[in-house]
């Protein structure tokens, strides 16, 4: 064996395979990059078209508005990477917000307030626990019982929305009690002029990026989306990872629910109705592939920003707001079309 290597065996030459160029691999070759380019063009265009676009107030609005759905979009991106889908995020936003404010109201009614912040911690924990439970239910049904993600979460959408109405008799609830100001501060306040929701978003996105790219768990998420059977055969704990992904997605939605209810100052029972479609649209525009295996944290945020900039731009341009949905739909199709053309060209 040793002599074999010293003989003139052909060195590692790649006679007919050219190395792919840097712009054909990694982030630059992803749909996220094209959409980011489109977003930058759009922002430049808007800043010339409307003098109000780049004012501090308007930028603040945009940032706050996309933060409302962006954390849920990060969560659903994880689910989409594994090749799944979660239609129940809108309902989860509503139920988490409702449970949080009901718990706060209940604690204040019971006048149980051992120390400042107690009601806040308990009610947020209760809200997120409910969200995690919803995600766990979805995950177990999909991973263990092998139900289709679409049908399972369509059912959950309805169940959870129904529970929200049941819990509130269809009326809204609002966070009250001694910790109300604290609650509003940590959900809709500003830190150094930056909306706090945006800070949460960036923190969570950075963690998600690190986890997806630099941990075995993140790699398993991609592997499940690429080839689930291969994952099973090579010892990836497929079921466990899938359940975790749905739990994280529901938690992301739950965090968004709490933030939205803080900004509104209440949790209407019909909160976030239909948001699941905007959230999925944002993820898909940002480059998450519904066939699984592709997506990332940066793309999710880019998708959310693009949708919000368009919405905002149409308002500033005094375009009939009913055009919004049509345009967002066109952008979804355009984004996947561009990606399709690119992959046709590069193989």
């Amino acid at each position: 064996m040793m002599t074999d290597t010293t003989q003139a065996s052909p060195p590692q030459g790649f006679s007919n395979v050219r190395r792919t160029r840097f712009w054909q691999r990694g982030f630059l070759a992803s749909q996220s990059a094209y959409v980011l380019a489109a977003l930058i063009v759009l922002i430049v265009f808007m800043s010339f078209a409307s003098p109000n676009f780049l004012t501090a107030g308007n930028v603040g609005n945009i940032v706050r508005n996309f933060s409302f759905i962006a954390i849920a979009t990060l969560g659903i991106t994880l689910v989409i990477i594994t090749g799944g889908i979660d239609l129940s995020v809108g309902s989860t936003i509503a139920l988490t917000a409702t449970v949080t404010s009901l718990t706060m109201a209940g604690l204040s009614q019971a006048a149980f307030h051992p120390f400042p912040g107690f009601a806040l911690i308990v009610s947020i924990a209760a809200g997120l626990a409910v969200a995690a439970l919803i995600g766990f239910g979805n995950g177990v049904a999909i991973a263990k019982l092998k139900l289709s993600p679409f049908v399972t979460t369509l059912g959950t959408l309805s169940i959870v929305r129904g529970l929200t109405y049941v819990a509130t008799y269809g009326r809204g609830t609002s966070p009250t009690g001694p910790d109300k100001d604290l609650f509003l501060a940590i959900t809709s306040g500003h830190v150094a002029g930056i909306p706090i929701g945006f800070i949460y978003l960036i923190l969570i996105a950075v963690i998600m990026w690190i986890v997806l790219n630099h941990t075995a768990w993140g790699r398993h998420v991609y592997a499940i989306g690429g080839n689930e059977a291969a994952g099973r055969l090579t010892g990836v704990p497929v079921d466990r990872v899938k359940i975790q992904v749905y739990v994280l997605c529901a938690l992301g939605a739950g965090i968004n629910g709490i933030i939205i209810s803080g900004w509104l100052g209440s949790a209407p029972a019909n909160l976030a109705t239909g948001y699941e479609l905007t959230i999925i649209a944002a993820a898909v525009i940002g480059g998450a592939n519904l066939a699984g295996g592709i997506g990332g944290a940066a793309g999710a945020i880019i998708g959310c920003v693009l949708i919000e900039v368009i919405r905002n731009g149409l308002v500033l341009a005094r375009v009939d707001p009913y055009w919004q949905q049509t345009l967002v739909g066109c952008i979804i199709v355009a984004a996947v079309l561009v990606d399709r053309f690119r992959s046709l060209r590069n193989g």
């Binding site: 064996m1 074999d4 065996s9 052909p10 590692q12 030459g13 790649f14 006679s15 395979v17 190395r19 792919t20 691999r25 690190i210 630099h214 941990t215 075995a216 790699r219 398993h220 991609y222 592997a223 989306g225 690429g226 080839n227 059977a229 291969a230 994952g231 099973r232 055969l233 090579t234 010892g235 990836v236 295996g293 592709i294 193989g347």
Partner: protein, 246 residues
Amino acid sequence: MALLELHDVTKDFGAIRALSDVSFSVGPGEIVGLMGDNGAGKSTLVKIMSGIYQPTAGTLRFGGEATQIQSPASARKLGIETVYQDLALADNLTASANIFLGRELKFNIGPFRFLRHRAMNARAVELFAELKSETRADDYVRQMSGGQRQAVAIARTRLSDAKLILMDEPTAAISVRQVAEVLNLIHRLKDAGISVILISHRMPDVFAVCERVIVMRRGRKVADKRIADTSPEEVTALITGALETA
């Protein structure tokens, strides 16, 4: 002493008897061909050896000791690695990510564990060099040729200290040049003292690399002969049933 011995292995799927009383052994460093027509029981046999199926009856001995192979993970622990027919690769990951899938190298920062990208890439480059394959560790599997995919699947089996490698139709879907490449890979495994069971439809491949051929028909073993003592004609007759046993 034989590395792997199967004794009277039988497998039923409901009313269907996929394998009946199959016995054979594989020695260390031996390359054995496993042939048979569609439905002869080759894949069932492979899945029993790789821990996906449990035999209905019969015993397995590995390294002289009676053993049960409960799962792909326990097969791997024993030193049995499998190259699956569909290769079990994730297209959206790089070659090195696929090789290390499920057994990534990690380092700790506090309670968190992160991937050692460079170490895994370096090891993957080594493995491809060992296999003399023109495959880049950081290329995505999506962009690879059939032969390169095969090299990735085989490199994966070299990661641990495998004693026996099961290859299910490794040359079924690839070009002529790539077939030669894969057969070379098998020779390198033998040089490294590793036993190989090659499941194949392709007579020339089996006769090119194997020392012994086992022929299955309708769930039974109908022949177990040294390649030197048989001929493609005889094996064909055994596979089709023109010849009952040999």
